[in-house]
């Protein structure tokens, strides 16, 4: 099935089987491996991408359903000028350890902050609750997302 997959502002015409997951197509056909796969049941959130600005578990979303929509992956966060403030905040706070959950965590946080630029700690906790991290105990991730709120 031929679709136009728009990822990070670039349109990729791809011809794929309709049962392919979005994460699989991103990683293999499009060549963007920043999106990770960590579980079989939508529990870990490592595969999180944005679809028209909202978070979606790309491992369990059919790639063909994104035809004509805007997909944003972790590779789309930084621009030519450098890291996005949220990326920098994650590094500054120490919110990155092994880094495997980081792309998904960044995408959920990006979605949260675009809807709610000054989230409370509780709102951060709920907003990122679909992303498991085994390294950090989440403390420095909460700090990073809180500190990225524009008011501070």
């Amino acid at each position: 099935m031929k679709i136009n997959l728009n990822v990070n502002g670039v349109t990729f015409p791809v011809d794929i089987e309709p049962d392919r997951s979005l994460s699989g197509v991103l990683r293999n056909e499009i060549g963007l491996t920043g999106t990770k796969e960590g579980c079989d049941d939508c529990e870990c959130g490592a595969c999180m991408v944005l679809l028209d600005g909202h978070p979606v578990n790309s491992c369990s979303y059919l790639a063909v359903q994104t035809d004509g929509r805007q997909v944003t992956t972790v590779e789309g966060l930084a621009d030519a000028d450098g890291l996005a403030p949220l990326q920098q905040a994650m590094l500054d706070a120490g919110g990155v350890q092994c880094g495997f959950c980081t792309p998904g965590m960044l995408m959920s946080a990006t979605a949260l902050l675009s809807e709610n630029p000054e989230p409370t700690v509780e709102e951060i906790r709920i907003g990122l609750s679909g992303n498991l991290c085994r390294c950090t105990g989440y403390a420095k991730i909460i700090e990073a997302v809180g500190s990225d709120a524009p008011s501070t």
Binding site: D40, M48, N57, L62, Q65, R125, I126, G130
Partner: protein
């Protein structure tokens, strides 16, 4: 596999008439296939772009009925002013579903038609006396949710019928609802057990009428019977009675998540809490959605006392 994005509702119904299965967020369908529970169907019709299925009518019609399109997401329901005002129990349920991502792509239609006995929107809908509107090329019909679920994954709807909307009768004055579930973690849970209650209060604060439905204690969501017993009781006494009835009437299984004995006990606790929260809301008290995180078992930490400090104890 064949995959078609429906252009109109009629288009979707035609494809379903020829054997396609509907997909919206795909949260149950695709995850189920990944887990090897059931392979994806041979033909899918995507209905998530049909605007006609994506709106909420908060009771503007003559009968004041609340109508929620089948493709309305849990996130939308959980944050919708009319739903929070009129049927907060449903907002409680939707706001507990999965993760933010699941709530954004997961739809109410998908949730109820998946017919899991652990679904979080089922008990509030049953307690509210809701009906589903299903359509096919043969026409459309309304079906009470009480008559919808036959067993885990089984409904009384034909395979060519598409759920297009949920209809909820407008609750009367001094009436409100709540949904409480037992969850081991504060988020990302599937109900171990749960209970939805809708209560109307008399002027003296006693219960005028109540309906209560239970999650994950039977093959389907079940309604608690014999609630005339609580009419006239003050909320506390009513909640205790409902707890007893809920425990007595539940038919839980033992599995990995809990034993039947524990489920039987805790569903009573959940039912009692749901009744109390519904009573307080009916009396005009504002309890934030979801009840679990503001009042229930999911509360009692960072939400209140320590919410304004970072994990290092530093004031934000």
């Amino acid at each position: 596999m064949q995959f078609v994005i429906a252009e109109t509702l009629e288009h979707a119904l035609e494809l379903m008439a020829s054997g396609s299965r509907p997909i919206a967020g795909g949260t149950d369908l695709v995850v189920g296939a990944r887990q090897g529970k059931e392979p994806l169907p041979d033909a899918l019709v995507a209905i998530d772009r049909l605007g006609v299925l994506a709106s909420i009518d908060g009771g503007t019609g003559e009968d004041g009925e609340i109508v929620i399109g089948a493709c309305v997401s849990h996130a939308t329901i959980a944050g919708h002013g009319d739903i929070i005002d009129l049927v907060p129990g449903l907002a409680d349920g939707s706001s507990l579903v999965g993760s933010p991502a699941t709530r954004h792509v997961g739809t109410i239609g998908g949730n109820i038609m998946n017919a899991s006995p652990a679904m979080d929107t089922g008990a509030p809908l049953l307690a509210a006396g809701a009906a589903v509107e299903v359509a096919s090329t043969r026409g459309s019909r309304l079906l009470a949710v009480a008559d919808l679920w036959l067993g885990p994954g089984q409904t009384s709807v034909d395979s060519d019928e598409l759920c297009v909307a949920v209809h909820i009768p407008r609750p009367g004055p001094r009436t409100s609802s709540a949904y409480v579930r037992l969850e081991y973690r504060r988020t990302m849970e599937i109900a171990v057990v749960g209970a939805g209650a809708q209560v109307s209060l008399s002027d003296d604060g006693s219960v005028a009428s109540a309906s209560v439905a239970l999650t994950a204690v039977a093959p389907v969501i079940i309604a608690v019977q014999g609630l005339s017993e609580v009419v006239g009781l003050q909320p506390g006494e009513a909640a205790r009675t409902v707890a007893r009835l809920a425990s007595e009437q539940s038919r839980p299984i033992s599995d990995l998540r809990a034993s039947d004995r524990y489920r039987r006990h805790t569903v009573g606790v959940m039912a009692s809490r749901a009744v109390l929260a519904a009573c307080r809301r009916a009396a005009g008290e504002e309890i934030a959605v979801p009840v679990n995180r503001s009042e229930g078992i999911g509360a009692g930490y960072p939400g209140d006392a320590v919410a304004n400090t970072t994990a290092d104890g530093v004031e934000l």
